[in-house]
């Protein structure tokens, strides 16, 4: 089942940032979202993940199928790496976390408290969470921040393995991941001033 976005207009802080956005994400496909800072990449990804509502347009095939990874990793410092992953596995109805530990080489760190990890190690843990969710659509916002070259390689491998099982991914990133991916440049969809009238319901919030 593909993810379709039709005529989407989204706003950040009540001001429309992207308008008339259309794309389709097929099974086994990666779409790289590009655009300058403040162009609405994060807002787009949060909207697809269901964390924000759109002003107009529709998103088809996203409900309950999306695993989102944003700027914050959602890691509890006082739980071990294993406990963090087990928690998310149980929330998403799974239980096996060895595949996730394998994918990001986290076995040596499994019993360390997550609060003692370095920034890059935390990010690897945050990305390993995607593997245990079992969701077919990954929506990732700058996933490679603070990762070294080896870890970026691990991440690219994990995405490839995810695609082989029929999954798909929507990734906002500025670096080349070495993936066979199409690029979605959001700058042509920048909202013009005329779209401001669409934000009228903000008065009630």
């Amino acid at each position: 089942m593909s993810l379709q976005v039709r005529h989407l207009t989204i706003a950040r802080g009540g001001i429309p940032v992207l308008a008339g956005l259309e794309f389709t994400l097929q099974e086994g496909q990666v779409l790289i979202v590009r655009g300058p800072n403040g162009s609405g990449k994060t807002t787009l990804l949060r909207t697809v993940a269901g964390l924000q509502t759109s002003l107009e347009g529709e998103i088809i095939g996203a409900a309950e199928r999306v695993a989102y990874a944003g700027h914050a990793d959602g890691i509890k410092a006082m739980l071990s790496v294993r406990e963090n992953l087990q928690f998310w596995a149980q929330v998403f109805g799974g239980s096996d976390i060895t595949a996730a530990l394998d994918a990001y080489a986290l076995h040596p760190l499994a019993d360390r408290l997550a609060g003692t990890l370095s920034a890059g190690q935390k990010r690897r843990l945050g990305l390993a969470r995607l593997v245990v969710t079992g969701c077919p659509v990954w929506v990732l916002d700058e996933p490679t921040v603070s990762l070294d070259a080896d870890a970026v390689g691990l991440f690219a491998d994990a995405v490839r393995a995810h695609l082989e099982t029929g999954g798909s991914a929507l990734i906002a990133t500025h670096i080349d991941l070495g993936l066979d991916a199409e690029v979605l440049d959001v700058s042509p969809f920048r909202a013009s001033a005329s779209h401001h009238s669409g934000a009228s319901d903000e008065a009630f919030l």
């Binding site: 993940a49 269901g50 964390l51 924000q52 509502t53 309950e64 999306v66 695993a67 989102y68 944003g70 700027h71 914050a72 990793d73 959602g74 890691i75 509890k76 410092a77 006082m78 739980l79 406990e83 087990q86 928690f87 998310w88 149980q90 929330v91 998403f92 109805g93 969470r129 969710t133 919030l205």
Partner: protein, 218 residues
């Protein structure tokens, strides 16, 4: 959902989780009262039910601002919203975890603190009963307040201002039951009212909490 409850309890018991904070606060309030009103045993016995209830209520309030704010700051809340759990269930579990780590210890400790305030012998049973029936409402209403202030920096004070007026009915009937018990009167009417308030809030508040949380994260 059980995983979420276990995780919250585990976090509360580990260092920095704030477990025991409410209990220590409750103890300090009940020891300060005799210093402020003077060492008159009869007067202390008269005001003990009300003071114990007020202390328990304030102790509950103390840990509320950590309830959702910590999960918001590290991004867990965003991920929970996108997880296949109903948000109503998430906030209910959060309230339950708050009650187990804050309300339940207060209920169990209240008889010991009653000794400090010379609570009449007949009052212990009704005090524990009223606290056991009333404190779940404090946690559930508090979760609503925490959801309302989740995105706000330093929202703790605002949270207190919003939540304390909503605590008034629980306090009135809870303290009334404890006071009647201490004077040897029948406590069934205030206890039934208290139970009604608690079950009503448990049934309805999660929907309000989930709704404001969705709005706050937008």
């Amino acid at each position: 959902m059980i995983a979420l409850l276990l995780r919250d309890l585990r976090l509360a018991f580990r260092a920095g989780g704030g477990f025991g904070l409410g209990l220590a606060f409750f103890l300090i309030v009940t020891t300060l009262v005799p210093f402020s009103v003077g060492p008159e045993a009869v007067l202390l016995g008269n005001i003990a039910p009300g003071v114990l209830w007020l202390g328990a209520l304030l102790a509950c309030l103390l840990s509320l601002d950590r309830l959702l704010a910590l999960d918001y700051e590290d991004g867990t809340l965003d991920l929970l919203v996108t997880a296949p759990l109903p948000l109503e269930a998430v906030v209910s579990i959060k309230a339950l975890a708050h009650w187990v780590t804050t309300g339940l210890p207060l209920v169990l400790a209240a008889p010991f603190f009653g000794v400090l305030l010379n609570l009449p012998t007949a009052g212990y049973g009704p005090l524990v009963q009223s606290l056991a029936l009333g404190t779940p409402a404090l946690s559930v209403i508090g979760t609503f307040g925490a959801a309302l202030t989740v995105g706000i920096k330093r929202g703790g004070l605002l949270l207190s201002l919003l939540v304390l007026p909503l605590y008034v009915p629980t306090l009135i009937f809870g303290a009334e039951a404890a006071r009647r018990g201490a004077s040897g009167l029948d406590t069934s009417t205030p206890l039934i009212m208290l139970a009604g308030i608690t079950f009503g809030t448990i049934a309805l508040m999660p929907f309000a909490s989930a709704a404001v949380l969705r709005m706050g994260l937008r």
